[in-house]
Symmetry: C2
Subunit: 248 residues, 2 copies
Amino acid sequence: MALHFTSERHLDDGVVERPFTLGEIPGFLWTPASSTAFAPVPLILLGHPPLGLDRMYPRLVARARHAAADGFAAATIELPGSGDRPRWDTVEEARSELRRVMEAGEPVSDEIVDALVLPLVDRSVPEWRSALDALLALPEIDGPVGYSGGIISIGIRLAVVDPRISAAVLFAGSFVPRAVFEEARRVTVPLHVLLQWDDEGNDRQASLELFDAFASKEKTLHATMGGHTGVPEFAGEAAARFFTRHLR
Amino acid sequence: MALHFTSERHLDDGVVERPFTLGEIPGFLWTPASSTAFAPVPLILLGHPPLGLDRMYPRLVARARHAAADGFAAATIELPGSGDRPRWDTVEEARSELRRVMEAGEPVSDEIVDALVLPLVDRSVPEWRSALDALLALPEIDGPVGYSGGIISIGIRLAVVDPRISAAVLFAGSFVPRAVFEEARRVTVPLHVLLQWDDEGNDRQASLELFDAFASKEKTLHATMGGHTGVPEFAGEAAARFFTRHLR
């Protein structure tokens, strides 16, 4: 798929922001203004929840600024069925079913988790790989590549199938289908796993089992207090240091 | 109890090492050469396992050098019944019993854990507090005070009973008596808890429950791979940054 930059904007702190389209998929690339063909930089893929890039923009650009300050490019693409991309009935129906079940106080079955997450993983992982193909072809970007945050199942699948991913920061805070849990046993890249200890929407015990399942020789679990969106600033900094250790 | 320095030695990297006696208890104080009455520094108490200061010296001095580089004094004292201090039958007997049970592959009962740890906590915590009295009276040392590592039950008791302890790095890797587990619910200072995920001598589930029990609003669990003595260097650095955040 061809990558087309649609505009270019210099943010105040030496970061260049370039929205792009990859085929029909919208995305963003942020690079330190200092990166050139003669001094290419490593890349961090910024994962995010399926709420649409517009809504996620403030948090994404903050993460990209942090990455640029550490000497990394950062990029993200819209998830299928989110933001300005066409509505995707399969996933919409699974979300309605999840809402219904949660409001009724019923347990969330494996079937619901599968219906909610697997189609998203199956469809978005090849898209992230196409984005990687296009981004790594740019002269100012070089490997290694890190993946950070968002839907943990996407990060797991990507780390298993794409050897260009050298390290990953995963956020243990969403439903993980049984099949992806099994894939986790094949992840071998260095991992930094964030867990919000009191995450309302997250099964803590399942997250600890998932952490245990990863085959990576270097893996760190970093559990901090608070709910899903309450990740403290120092935890973000610890994740940034993890990338600096592995991508430089 | 009176503190007497028995010698003074300048280490190569600007650290002053002063062995001392506190009554009959041997100990060490390490300070950055730059600390004076006009520029006093915070203090980190270095906990350690009951193997004797002589045997622990290389690891203790490495931790002290790291602390000094971050602008902190570091101090430690010998545990009762260890090193050059008089043999303590109560604890020796509990250790023999533990060895016997472990060699026989029997479960370690609450009674054994109590006999092994409670006398040590009851006797050493007042000693650490006396050391604190004496050390904080030195013109080149100032609060706040951090406690780091060693027997976790000593760190917990100290954090509960001594308001001068402002932050603690605890190492989840030793038996915790039920009574101390209950004390953990009264710990409110910021905590950074290290857990070696594959620690042979440690019950992982019990460590997670202990982490959950602490009342501290800021507490971080930092789990890394490897056995009891295999704490990776980056985990030590994360603990150092925790102290820099809380003691400066």
